[in-house]
């Protein structure tokens, strides 16, 4: 995901129009996971579910392999991606650890210490 032209925001994905267009089908898949019925259908055959939502091969791989960073890079919005993480029993702190390159425990500790004020 690219920052808008001319912007300089290191370490900060910007969910812009290009990202949103790119990720639209994948984000719709994530949003569908609000319902128990959809979660069951997804769990029963993740690949078929991805095909139903017409994900690109890269997006499908990212979803199947739970490559959270790739989901962001391929146009996922974090609020949408989180629906899949919740379904897996994972927390926003777990995801924060993945994105920032630390363990969930270290990420939680950093927040308890007042958040990452130096990045």
């Amino acid at each position: 995901m690219t920052a808008p032209a001319g912007h300089d925001l290191p370490g900060t994905p910007v969910f812009d129009g290009r990202a949103s267009r790119r990720g639209l089908r994948m984000n719709k898949l994530f949003m569908s996971l609000r319902s128990a019925e959809s979660r069951e259908r997804f769990a029963a055959d993740e690949r078929a579910y991805c095909e139903e939502f017409r994900l690109t091969p890269e997006q499908e791989r990212a979803v199947l392999e739970r490559d959270w960073q790739a989901m962001v890079d391929l146009g996922g919005s974090i609020f949408y991606i989180y629906k899949l993480a919740m379904m897996d029993g994972l927390s926003m702190q777990y995801l924060g650890g993945v994105f920032s390159g630390m363990s969930e425990q270290d990420f939680r500790a950093a927040l308890m210490a007042g958040g990452r004020t130096d990045v």
């Binding site: 900060t12 609000r34 629906k83 995801l95 924060g96 994105f99 920032s100 990452r116 004020t117």
Partner: protein, 282 residues
Amino acid sequence: MSEVIWGMVTSHVPSIGAAMDHGKTQDPYWKPLFDGYQPAREWMAEHRPDVAIVIYNDHANGVDLDVVPAFAIGTADRYPVADEGWGPRPVPEVVGDPDLSQHLIEHLIDDGFDMTLFQELDVDHGLTVPLSIYCPDPGEAWPCRVVPLLVNVIQYPQPTAARCYALGRAIGRALASYQPDVKVAIFGTGGMSHQLAGARAGFVNPKFDAMFLEAIQTDPERLAALSREELIRQAGSEGIELIMWLVMRGAMNDEIRRIHETYHVPASNTAAALALFDNRGD
């Protein structure tokens, strides 16, 4: 003539609602935050509005990415509480105020604000958590009607901070001409600094938050001048939702009185704050 009696800004993190729903507000993790709310809650319990205008954003629960409005107003009689994936929160359905919604729409459209209407809308934690912060034990029903006002804070380009502030001013003008006389509270939700994705995930900026918490009362023009880029840099990619506070601020008088404020890190991945303002100055 209707009147804004008070305004509250508050974070709307889902786990704040979950802590209340699961009786964890006295756990060591949550106690400082909820203790910080207490004086505001007591004051608000003695100053009940007839209707609350809640400025918030949806988070993949009530509105799909097919449609991304800059500003939207709900016009419904009732707003079901969204099922965000683990069942709806155990809180009352939200009762709307379609007459006030319609009045606002007509005035705002004539005032050059290109509002979208949501005639049906499920409301998510972005709206219900602030209601729970206002009123932790609503019983069968919330103590006021609600007009949801949604701002696109998720997809770049969000409306500018200046445009949000201008929308608030226009809301203030529209309320001044509303009959019957109703007492209105206005909620600016979201924030404070936080970032959920990217290498900078977990970012918190207490200095910026302190400046914002002070200036929202005393110097909103300064905040309205912040660019999107500056907001994201200073408050994190999700901290840009602070622009919603400016809608609240714009709807209030130039002079407002601070009743209470609290700031706490962390609520989930967020710096959380609440500030409550009496609209009747000093």
